[in-house]
Symmetry: C2
DNA sequence: CCTATATCGATGCGATTGCAACGATATCGC
DNA sequence: GCGATATCGTTGCAATCGCATCGATATAGG
């Protein structure tokens, strides 16, 4: 047998693809409309802030794992962000293969500038559609697909 | 106020991004591993079959709307698929700007060849994680983000 | 210690995507 | 009917992604 999946799970998958594509496009459009960089830059800056709050330096490898990003992709994303003056690369103290990524003052400022726009977009394009219980249900179900 | 969205909806959004990215990557890997073309090709071929079943010809514009795909992107996707002999372009009878997209015999065969692999991947990477009620709940919630 | 293997990050190159603009045709408003 | 505007699909070009590979360093096994 070809193992036809349940109709419900096909519907869920199709809905997942479309929801992500459509919502991401709307959020990116809001950021772009405000003259801000793409969402991926925010994700990087947010991870960097989390690390700073925990008084840790973040290795590129760890950033890669946190963002589910291919290594070569992250290398070049950081090229662009470093070019824009938002992050700096420093050698990892105890592993000479490694690079620590640190935010610059401008990088921290950029994250603060992006958040209000991102938050507004999130409320408008996601939060608006769910009450608290629904949002939790949705998050819980989606977690299983990690 | 910056209008912080509810914590639940932020969690739902993050989970949505990760679930889609991770699951899509797994499914694409299964298709690629079976020597088959990307998922987008299947989506096109499926829409074409739907149209044929309804005895309708499908305009490129309608395909674009059905797939939530940018026009220029679809143009070139169809270039590749036509190059592979899977679809053909024909002038729309009543609108000389338009192009009808029709599947070739090879295109229909390719869809039939892709489905078992896709179905297996879907069962493995999506269906496995949900019972019928959960899948329906998930689909229903995600529909709201269209 | 010293070779074999694994990990970390970068890079050359071809494929794909996104943006802006275009040519062709259709539709609208006068 | 006719000029202004909108729609359909394509294309040039730059940015980004994905794959394969590389150089450098670290770790494991004998």
């Amino acid at each position: 047998m070809t193992g036809s999946p349940t109709p419900g799970s096909v519907a869920a998958w199709v809905a997942l693809m479309r929801a992500q594509t459509a919502t991401l496009a709307r959020i990116e459009a809001d950021l772009d409309g405000a003259g801000l960089p793409p969402l991926a830059w925010y994700d990087v800056l947010l991870e960097l802030r989390r690390a700073e709050r925990a008084s840790k330096r973040l290795r590129q490898r760890d950033l890669q794992a946190a963002l589910l990003l291919a290594g070569y992709n992250l290398s070049r994303l950081l090229d662009r962000m470093a070019g824009a003056g938002l992050v700096a690369r420093e050698p990892t103290p105890d592993d000479r293969r490694g690079i620590d990524i640190v935010p610059t003052a401008e990088g921290r400022a950029m994250r603060r500038r992006m958040w209000p726009v991102y938050a507004r977009a999130l409320g408008h394009h996601v939060g608006r559609h769910f009450d608290a219980a629904e949002a939790t249900t949705l998050a819980t179900l989606l977690e299983r697909l990690r």
